[in-house]
Symmetry: C2
Subunit: 457 residues, 2 copies
């Protein structure tokens, strides 16, 4: 609970942009996943870095936690006030501050969503390539080191954030990085902050690396006899070095859900969704080479989408896959797993996971950014069914253990938050304690998104 | 000085692989730059991580500093024992531990040099693309976040180190990263360690991302009427999005020094050295597009090098440029500057720097990895001439200030070490103190490479 003095000072700072109304608290109590809701004590809507800095100072003075909130799309409870506190909703800090087409970068506030950013960039011939399914906020994407469908070509937030402005636990404001393409000047605080899930500070500004819109783009869907051939085709394609812009996998259940939800008519088979970017000649060459590889694995029913609207429809279907799967079993919640392994272990990881799900009582369609060795099983749980919930958690834990056994990670892109914290020691060993040491040094009172990512302090 | 007990314990641990012989100490007292020599108290040559861990524990017990040493090629005194201590020479930990061609990665010990690594990789069809001029050790390259000629295409050590094993100040051993292509599992400790210059721990093992040897490669040199046209050509080329594998700049003085040193016969003009990687058709297309852009800026005397031996000769000449410049004024030492700016500011940065050098008493050939906005002026100082030395330092400081004014960084690739520490506050402001906070948390006794990179503790 906020003490009266804290509430008075917060009200003085934010006026009507402070809310303790139950509806507002509940809006900020729930992410897009199975993680239990927990409401903050108050929500503030800052408009400037200065306000966030003063909020940090108030947090230090009164000791209340601060939890950043972008679009509320995180899947591991990153933005939930699991220990109470004040949620900092960045939706009013959503501007593009500058675009430098010559340097292919832009400076934005954290609350802008990736779709709006790309709309604003459209006329410049540039785009921001990190593309998770959700229309997440850029600040949240940086905080959780998001990636998505195009990471196989353009990298994740790790590769596409050049610099940050961050408000620290004491209200101090720092800038990390510069506008130069690279630097060797000291610790890489940008990389330390990206993926820190708000536990070290609140991101108030981002300098992003942009990419030129490709001259030519071509997308396709193609079906495979089974999951094995589709995954083996991915492995061969990546190892051949074709610079795939996207190479996404959908299993048969996912295809069925997408057809029902998006009105597509894909054959009920395992599919790859692929995209090529480059010069017209380069795209043609890539597509031809991919076609040859795919044919070796028995591909069929190639459907090309070269017109912009066809491609939009295709990737909208892909981005809606999570909702499509949820809709396939009404009254369900989902536990979304997120395993990532070296590409050589991908077939083993997918096949073992599939067998494990088949032996469970749960439906669990599989899809993912397989070019990165990253895939998800969406475990569908009848809301309130404790047995199913336990079965899903056990499956998810086995998937994480499988990822580690195969040299991979417990999360390719969804992060740790509250949901995967108990798996961190298994992945990192003593390095998890080092994360705790860094956290304690920068936030000794544990007020920045407490209860997430790091060990108990 | 090491106390007798410490020396006894070190001798028990390392036997004949501990040296306090003056010749050995002096070998480890000097980098490849203007930084004043300072000898360690002892040098050890570990062969295993276990030995480094036990060394860390002895350092903790007796309080002596530990300074990592790879190939001794750093330029800002990173590997010098400026406050005494024990230098940890990694030349005996120089093996390739494993190569996974399917996953395009390898695991190596820190002492292997980049040239030997690439020789060992040759038969696999893969290579490690980070390519500074010096034949540095991979551990040193990670510790200093090195880059070089191919970073414009393949990135720096930031992008090509996937995971590390690190011995911490207390002798504890951690592993960072996994073998999966990406991860969202907590703080990016790999990125924190890369570029930390041995101030947070000693790197004992590295997992590296490898790149497929391109099917086709073509290189060329081309001359330009002046520095301005050459730099403007770089800017236009990068902004057009041609995926240059290399695009290097040499000014007229550098060309003269290279001709004299390497026996080449390039016209005495500003030059670009370029390289294209890809499929045969892709390389041809890139080369044609680059040729069109270069022609707009008055390029002449294009000389193509497609045969492997011609390319080797070309890049050997480039990598020898530093030595060539040193040889051009016998009896000199060099202060090597290392400015990096956004590409849009490159012309201004180069031209101002050139005018500044022209107004000074010193020769200062300019060359660099201009595709990254990164260039060096090699300021030649008559050994022992205090006036020239002061003039060089003043020029270097003005270059760093210029970089910051133009949105860039005081070092694109050479790092901070001892030589650029006094400029860190100007670049990072309060963020430099945050680096100090992280350092203090992980190395509270300040034993890991003290006196480098971070503020005085």
């Amino acid at each position: 609970m906020l003490c009266a003095a804290a509430l008075t000072d917060l009200t003085a700072l934010f006026g009507a942009r402070l809310s303790t109304a139950n509806a507002v608290l509940q809006q900020h109590a729930q992410g897009e996943s199975h993680i239990k809701a927990s409401a903050p004590w108050a929500v503030v809507f800052p408009e400037t870095t200065e306000e966030v800095a003063r909020l940090g100072a108030l947090s230090a003075r009164y000791g209340f936690p601060l939890i950043g909130w972008g679009a509320g799309t995180s899947l591991e409870g990153q933005a939930l006030a699991t220990q109470g506190g004040v949620t900092v909703d960045f939706t009013r800090m959503d501007r593009v501050l500058s675009v430098s087409p010559e340097d292919m970068l832009c400076v934005v506030q954290p609350g802008i969503t990736r779709e709006r950013l790309n709309e604003e960039l459209r006329a410049t011939g540039l785009f921001f390539p990190v593309d998770p399914g959700a229309n997440a906020s850029i600040g949240g994407m940086a905080a959780t080191r998001a990636s998505g469908t195009a990471a196989v070509r353009y990298g994740t937030m790790r590769n596409n954030v050049l610099g940050l402005e961050v408000v620290l636990a004491d209200g101090g404001v720092i800038r990390t990085g510069t506008s130069a393409p690279k630097s060797a000047a000291g610790y890489d605080l940008t990389a330390l902050m990206v993926g820190s899930e708000g536990t070290l500070g609140l991101i108030t500004e981002l300098t992003l690396r942009l990419t030129g819109q490709p001259e030519a783009v071509s997308s396709a869907t193609c079906a495979f006899p089974s999951i094995t051939e589709a995954v083996d085709c991915v492995i061969a394609t990546i190892q051949t070095g074709i610079p795939m812009a996207r190479i996404e996998f959908l299993d048969e259940m996912t295809v069925a859900a997408c057809n029902a939800f998006s009105g597509t008519q894909l054959p009920l088979r395992a599919h790859l969704l692929v995209e090529f970017h480059g010069s017209p000649a380069g795209v043609a060459e890539q597509a031809e080479r991919f076609g040859e590889i795919a044919a070796q694995f028995g591909s069929e029913a190639f459907q090309w989408a070269s017109a912009r609207e066809d491609r939009s429809r295709l990737w909208k279907m892909r981005h809606d896959a999570y909702r499509a799967i949820l809709a396939s079993r009404p009254g369900c919640t989902a536990l979304v797993t997120d395993l990532c392994v070296p590409i050589s272990a991908l077939a083993e990881a997918v096949e073992e996971t599939r067998a494990d799900i088949a032996a469970s009582p749960l439906p669990g369609p599989i899809l993912g950014h397989v070019g990165d060795g990253n895939f998800h099983a969406i475990l569908l749980i009848n809301e309130g069914d404790a047995t199913e919930s336990e079965a899903a958690k056990a499956l998810a834990t086995r998937m994480a253990e499988r990822a580690l056994r195969l040299g991979g990670t417990i999360t390719g892109e969804h992060g740790i938050g509250f949901g995967k914290r108990q798996l961190m020691a298994a992945e990192h060993g003593a390095a998890w304690q080092v994360m705790g040491t860094v956290k304690l040094a920068l936030d000794p009172d544990n007020r920045m998104n407490p209860g997430k990512l790091v060990p108990s302090l």
